[in-house]
């Protein structure tokens, strides 16, 4: 995000120093690595999510509460939400950095992206926990 690139015609610092400064984004491979790690965790969690949603299709309120509040379902859903919201936050950051060239708009878009991902995560987690804690096993 921070533009720490050097104009090599004006500075003695070498490209190696730039690489050591963790590159153009200033974050090194952290973004790339967390994106891949959440991609891997998404695969089993999304498959489980699809099965859960299929079992919820056309259900009544009582049936839906019973399914979502089941400990195994709730825990898998919580894991899926954490993994997916992180993955989508990292994912959308890439086209923003690729296509939004104006620094002000880029900053605004990156902030909005983070706010949106956190909003989705908190809304989903709040709902799952509220439904789960209301259940007396």
């Amino acid at each position: 995000m921070v533009d720490n690139r050097y104009d090599t015609s004006r500075t003695m610092r070498t490209p190696l120093a730039r690489a050591k400064g963790l590159g153009a984004a200033g974050h090194g491979a952290d973004h790339w690595w967390l994106h891949r790690m959440t991609a891997v965790s998404n695969v089993p969690l999304v498959i489980a999510f699809v099965i859960i949603v299929a079992s919820l299709a056309g259900s009544s309120y009582e049936q839906a509460v019973a399914i979502v509040s089941h400990p195994l379902v709730a825990i898998v859903l919580i894991l899926a939400i954490i993994s997916v919201t992180n993955h989508m936050r990292l994912g959308i950051q890439i086209p923003i950095e690729d296509y939004v060239h104006d620094k002000g708009w880029k900053l605004a878009a990156l902030i909005a992206n983070n706010f949106y991902a956190v909003l989705i995560a908190v809304a989903c987690l709040w709902a799952i926990l509220k439904i789960s804690f209301g259940r007396v096993i």
Binding site: A39, N42, V43, V50, A54, Y61, V68, M88, G91, I92
Partner: protein, 132 residues
């Protein structure tokens, strides 16, 4: 230092329209577009969950919408988008390990992404229909 030379003009690479359209280019674009659609569409899951947590009245309204023909169309579309992005992601993970880079392999993988995502979507919805 005031009169430093302007940087030498760099050779320009030809832009997209120069190249013959390929499966891998199409699937690359699909991967970004499906990712963006999933990013927007996950708000529907948040709405559904918050409605469920809010009580029967809110839930019935939201569930009624998803049960309508338009709601079902959105859900089927979302299923395909999710499956396509998932298979596209697996393709990228294979590439991250340095495999499947040869022309025949990467075109086959790109085609498989589309065929696989449509097949999985059909299986999920036919399965959900018969499990009713």
């Amino acid at each position: 230092m005031a009169n430093t030379k302007a940087p030498a003009p760099r050779p320009l690479s030809p832009h997209l329209q120069i190249y013959r359209w390929t499966w891998t280019m199409t699937m690359s674009i699909f991967h970004r577009v499906t990712g963006g659609a999933l990013y927007v569409g996950i708000s529907l899951l948040a709405i559904w969950l918050v409605a469920l947590a809010s009580g029967p009245q809110a839930f019935d309204a939201v569930q009624g919408f998803f049960g309508s023909p338009f709601g079902l169309l959105i859900l089927i579309g979302y299923t395909w988008t999710l499956m396509h992005h998932m298979l596209g992601g697996v393709r990228h993970l294979v590439w991250d390990f340095g495999h499947g880079m040869e022309p025949g392999q990467r075109f086959a993988m790109a085609r498989f992404t589309l065929i696989g995502s449509i097949t999985l979507t059909l299986l999920i919805w036919v399965g959900a229909y018969f499990l009713r």
